[in-house]
């Protein structure tokens, strides 16, 4: 008889690609019991999602090939079952939710239809499916179930979409729910709500929950046990608390060490204050919608000012207005005695040298048809007075060296680099113009934790060496805590609070800031357990 609800034994999966076989996972074994939360923790490319895909029959063969192993569900091997038998299990006994619910919901069908479909294809009569759909929508906290059922995915917010996915997955009360990065694209406060919802539903149904994540904080918040994966292999497993407190494998140690939010905060800046950029009353409206209202702050020389806030808070709009990528509706930004927002196109062109931007996704912001040399030297084509052409090659080599790459990289193309390396190229490109200010718009958000730490170190080193100032836009509070001198908190287009990093993190004045900090997850399971307990007593007394 089966020992576990779900057990993966010695699973190996290979993908046959044009560049040769890729061993996505090798000899992976883990198990999941009823009522338990198992987290598979790993960075991108670690193979953490592959075993789940094998369980759900989502691996396309070819190019994929399951070379060995078994996936035992209640003692029976899923991999040996017929197509029809597996289809009957999918959605009914084992369900799955994904990262990025917008692209995982079908855009052209109403959400009610999509939830009903799960019920109907597994044998629920149509009429009953309709009433159950409404009950499910209410249960996952969607307002106005009857009206919402007729709406389409694009009409919901990110958090609501994930709630819809959960309603769809839980329609038939499955024994196992697989959640693949379910909160990665969501704001921290929404993430907290979704995790709480998953937990409540799990307690109600007693299902086993398999959580695939890269986020130590998520593991700390919800997981009972954790499996750590690296490069297709399991390097460590155990209870979440044990693995965090007492990691055995060097990789796990590195991962935990790289988790942001643990280092020393920057001391409050003292001494002579040299304001480099003074922004007052910056506004931006799109029609009647005020995306940014009355934003005022200063940036000093050599300082990092972080702008934090959830999606729609106006933090990116602020950056775009400063760089005049969007025309602001009003306000002033005084830099070197001139108002950036009132410059003529010709003056603006010259000023662009001084303020550069690094974007979130280097895959999209680097032209794939240009070599690294072309990408970096293009700056000097546009601003020919910076550097004579004979010195371009040497300077590109120097810049690559500065950002931790080697001169040999200059003849390669962006796709030949990893995500972290690409972001280094984007930084080198920004540095080519010898700017005074670099605006980083979620510049490390798309990177793995260990890579994130390296890029932050790089930015920090460049600041000290070159005297740069940063406007660092981020939603990830622990990163901000480690990197920023001052923090601006934004909500709904307004600055709600600004202060030194110590003041914001240790003595936040505004309720919104406190909520944001409370929702942010600590990688330490012990800290999260204490917070949960505090929340519980708070809700009991309330």
């Amino acid at each position: 008889m089966a020992d576990h609800l779900l057990e993966v034994r010695n699973l190996s999966v290979t993908f046959h690609t044009v560049r040769g076989p890729v061993h996505a996972v090798r000899n992976v074994s883990w198990h999941l019991d009823r009522g338990e939360v198992l987290a598979i923790l790993g960075e991108s490319g670690s193979g953490k999602s592959v075993s789940a895909a094998a369980i759900m029959d989502l691996i396309d063969c070819p190019p994929g090939e399951i070379t060995s192993g078994a996936c035992l569900f209640e003692g029976r091997d899923l991999l040996k079952m017929g197509v029809e038998e597996r289809r009957a299990i999918n959605g009914k006994r084992i369900a799955m939710i994904f990262q990025d619910p917008l692209s995982h919901l079908n855009p052209v069908y109403s959400v009610g239809w999509q939830i009903e479909e799960t019920l109907v294809i597994h044998g629920t009569p149509k009429a009953k499916a309709q009433t159950e759909t409404l009950a499910l929508l209410a249960k996952v906290g969607i307002p106005d179930p009857a009206g919402s059922a007729r709406k389409y995915p694009h009409q919901f917010s990110g958090g609501q979409r994930q709630r819809l996915m959960i309603a769809m997955a839980l329609a038939l009360r499955p024994d196992i729910l697989i959640a693949d990065e379910p909160t990665t694209a969501l704001d921290v406060t929404v993430q907290a709500q979704i995790l709480a919802l998953l937990e409540t539903l799990q307690h109600e149904t007693g299902m086993g929950l398999l959580l695939i994540t890269h986020d130590l904080g998520v593991v700390a918040e919800v997981a009972d046990r954790v499996v750590v994966m690296n490069a297709g292999e399991i390097v460590e497993q155990g209870t979440a608390a044990d693995v965090y407190a007492n990691p055995q494998h060097p990789y796990t140690k590195r991962l935990i060490g790289a988790a942001p939010g643990k280092g020393a905060m920057a001391p409050d800046r003292t001494g002579k204050v040299v304001p480099l950029l003074e922004v007052t009353g910056l506004r931006k409206s799109y029609g009647a919608f005020a995306a940014l209202q009355d934003a005022s702050f200063t940036l000093e020389e050599g300082e990092t000012v972080a702008i934090v806030g959830e999606s729609g808070s106006g933090k990116s709009t602020l950056a775009k207005c400063l760089l005049r990528l969007e025309e602001p509706t009003g306000g002033k930004a005084i830099y070197k005695g001139r108002d950036l927002l009132a410059l003529s196109p010709v003056e603006l062109y010259a000023m662009r040298r001084d303020i550069q931007m690094v974007f979130q996704d280097p895959t999209q912001s680097l032209n794939p048809r240009m070599s690294v040399y072309d990408l970096i030297s293009e700056a000097w084509v546009i601003h020919p007075d910076i550097l004579p052409k004979v010195r371009w090659r040497a300077r590109v080599a120097e810049l690559l060296d500065q950002v931790g790459l080697t001169p040999e990289h200059m003849h390669r193309y962006p796709h030949q680099f990893s995500g972290g390396q690409r972001q280094r190229i984007a930084i080198a490109r920004a540095l080519a113009l010898e700017p005074r200010i670099i605006v980083c718009d979620e510049a490390v958000s798309a990177l793995d934790v260990s890579i994130q730490a390296q890029v932050i170190d790089l930015l920090d080193g460049l600041r000290k060496r070159l005297g740069l100032s940063y406007i660092f836009i981020a939603h990830d509070l622990p990163v901000v805590r480690d990197f920023a001198d001052r923090v601006i908190v934004m909500q709904g287009g307004r600055i709600v609070e600004q202060g030194s990093v110590r003041q914001i993190f240790e003595a936040p004045r505004e309720a919104y800031t406190r909520n944001l900090l409370a929702a942010s997850l600590d990688p330490d399971p012990a800290v999260q357990a204490a917070r949960r307990k505090a929340r519980l007593t708070e809700s009991l007394t309330a």
Binding site: M56, D57, L58, R87, A88, I89, N90, G91, K92, A95, M96, F98, D100, S103, H104, L105, N106, P107, V108, Y109, S110, E117, T118, I121, H122, Y152, H154, M165, M168
Partner: protein, 304 residues
């Protein structure tokens, strides 16, 4: 939606007006109408009489005004060849063209969607390779050549089907088949491409994780998403057919608007040419509006 349709109707009316202006002045630019309408050896008196009769001695703007007023009353003038109102002649032929286009495009659409979707389901499989091979041949083969080969094969050698004309259902088979081939090949390629994208999308992954069977995954989840680019091409191809499948109609002696236009141009029956241009233009405007409506019906994110 209603506002959008109103806007489109106004835009279409403006385009039609411009078309009228262009057709009128271009036809006047081609030279003295008496040289176009009358035989080369017509006497000077005859020419003068003709000018007088048709008001060609009036200033150009007066002529244009009269022409527009007549058009507003749907009076395109009489066909010289048939001695009947030109509009009647055109509408009669247009009925044939419309029937031919509708039947052919319906068949093409259904066939291309089914075959293209199945080909996309297993990219590189046997079915995909066979379908792609034949669709590429179909999309690139010239239709006059196919038409002649088809006549030689099925009508002359085998004697199964009539060579030309109308009358029985058998007369329709060859024109439809020949017209079918090129749009089928083209649309199949577009369906296949769009469906490969749709089938590799995240929502298809969700559907499979839900336990949806392969057939509804293809034809319910992926197809509706994949249809948007396909509809554009269907509209484009249908427009070509509504203009009159000149070559096919001529070869098969099919009394459609394409053949009528060619005959009228050769016989200098300009009233008919003009009426044919206007009727097909209106048909194409209407079809474009239908396509826009189809977009909105298929994709809830598109709202006008």
């Amino acid at each position: 939606m209603r506002k959008f349709l109103g806007k489109r109707a106004v835009a279409s009316a403006v385009s039609l007006l411009l078309l009228i202006v262009m057709v009128f002045f271009l036809s006047r630019l081609t030279g003295d109408p008496t040289q176009l309408y009358l035989p080369v050896d017509a006497s000077l008196e005859a020419r003068e009489k003709f000018r007088e009769l048709h008001g060609l001695n009036d200033p150009l703007m007066v002529q244009f005004g009269r022409y527009v007023v007549d058009l507003a009353q749907l009076d395109f003038g009489d066909s010289i060849r048939k001695a009947r109102p030109a509009l009647d002649v055109v509408l009669e032929a247009f009925k044939w063209t419309l029937a031919l286009a509708l039947i052919t495009m319906a068949l093409v659409t259904v066939a291309a969607i089914v075959v293209g979707s199945l080909a996309a389901f297993r990219v590189g499989g046997l079915f995909d390779r066979v379908a792609t091979f034949f669709s590429l041949i179909g999309a690139s083969a010239p239709d006059f050549w196919i038409a002649i080969v088809a006549i030689v094969l099925f009508s002359v050698n085998l004697g199964w089907l009539p060579t030309s004309g109308t009358g029985t259902i058998w007369h329709w088979i060859l024109p439809i088949s020949v017209l079918f081939i090129r749009p089928f090949g083209l649309i199949l390629q577009v369906v296949r491409g769009a469906m490969i994208t749709a089938l590799s999308s995240a929502y298809v992954k969700t559907a499979r994780a839900k336990g949806v069977r392969p057939r509804p995954v293809i034809f319910v989840h992926a197809l509706r998403n994949g249809m948007l680019p396909v509809i554009t091409v269907i509209g484009d191809q249908a427009a070509g057919m509504l203009n009159g499948a000149v070559v096919v109609e001529t070869i098969f002696g099919f009394p459609g608007v394409g053949k009528l236009m060619i005959d009228s141009i050769l016989q200098r029956d300009f009233a008919v040419v003009l009426a044919a241009i206007m009727v097909t233009a209106i048909a194409i405007f209407l079809m474009n509006i239908l396509i826009d409506i189809a977009y909105a019906v298929l994709d809830p994110r598109i709202r006008y």
